[in-house]
Amino acid sequence: MPSPISAERFAILVEQAGLKLTPEQFEELRQAHQFVERMQRSVRRPRDRAAEPAHIFVHPRA
């Protein structure tokens, strides 16, 4: 189990997001930030630069 993000660093992320959290919400989301980090690691891998996203722009019908 990785250590949770520090309270100081998480406070910066919360402020950047424009959220106003209660102390309980702050601590709960801070502890859960490990899942965000896992997902971020999981989708970052070596890829060809030309590898496109699943959904690309298509012209809507009139």
């Binding site: 106003k20 859960a32 899942f35 971020q40 989708v43 970052r44 890829r47 996203p53």
Partner: protein, 470 residues
Amino acid sequence: MDPTQLTIAEASRAVADGSLSPVALAEGYLDRIAALDGELHSYVLVLRDEALAAARELAAGRSRGALHGIPIGLKDIYKTRGIRTTAGSRRYLDHVPEEDAETWTKLRDAGTVLLGKQETHEFAIGGPDFTLPFEPAHNPWNTAHYPAGSSSGSAVAVAAGLCAAAMGSDTGGSIRGPAAYCGIVGLKPTYGRVSRRGVFPLSYTLDHCGPLTRTVEDCAIMMQALAGYDPADPGSAEVPVPDYRAALSTRLDGVRIGVIRHFHERDAVADFGSSSAPTPTYIAAFDAACRTLESLGARISDLQLSPLIDYVDANRLIMISEAYALHEKDFRERPQDFGHHMFARIGLGAFLSAADYVEATRQRRELCVEFARAIDGLDLVVCANSTGPAPPIDALPTFGTVERASYTGPFNLTGSPALSVPIGFEDRLPLAFQIVGKPFDEAGVMRVGHAFEQATDFHRHRPAIADSLA
């Protein structure tokens, strides 16, 4: 015979030959709701007068087909004109839409009778949450247990005999999970097959609408009315709709089925930890189900894909990102309106970046290509669903939605049609697996599900509460 014990196929025949009136059928379900739903909490709004008026009109009119007079329910994220639609949220407690969901329009035109709106997790993600105005639905097999979500009310109502069929939505498994825990059939159709217009979104590129029913044949009847192109849904696909019921069969000779075992036998514990371990009873039930398919003539082979976590994390990252974008303004300006689980689960989206989202969608394409190639030499695949019985409803972790293995999310990512079918019981609670097909092959998926169902009797078992008034 209590008409609420009939499947849609049976009730439809009785209505057609005049031995059963749509009014008697609607009354039967409404009486059951009045008697039983105080314990189950599957409905948030019962439309007794409206349902009986609709049934009387249908009884006096010409037949509209197999769904003529069939009573159904809608998850309370389906918009209904002039009828409150809350999405399970305080934010929309008094919300009365001015339009109908396209799916409800189709079902109404096909002759169904709307009994009411059914309990949902808040915005189809935040539940079970006892801090919200509506009590979460309880599992009819054991009311101390969880029915899964987010289409919880819909699955509970079908399993308990409080409607003949219901509509759910599925972004990571919200049709198939409740179908599994409640011992019924649930279909997540192909992305684009069934319109999402007029249904509260959770995640635009992962949301699917689909039916929950007691049998696969009933699912086919519902899909016949639901499937089809909707030009007002940007994700809708213009693909011909086959005769689903005609495709059902009791034999599977020559059908090539790939079995994804490593998701539950290896990856779940390796990547998500011991809390995601399948139970021995589940593993045995899954293997027995595969042998049953083989006995029906199917050719079974194991299928190897990327690890489960690659699919699951991409699905979850996309879902949380899209849902957070949808609710960001309210998260900033009126956080007190959200229930605890919704705020916590989707609040994680505040800490994901645009680059994270794009990377997840690039991974999505890679995995979609992988799955398409893997299934190319096959007709369809089978995969685990929830790998054990329903847990107690008061013992669910807030972040179970990101913490634990999911066997359903991969097929939201690929957009594949996926059907949950009962395969057994553990501790008197149902178990299920998934049958997953190629894009737009709902007919093939239901064919296998129906054949399996006819060879087994799991779908005939009903919770005691379902028979308590019979």
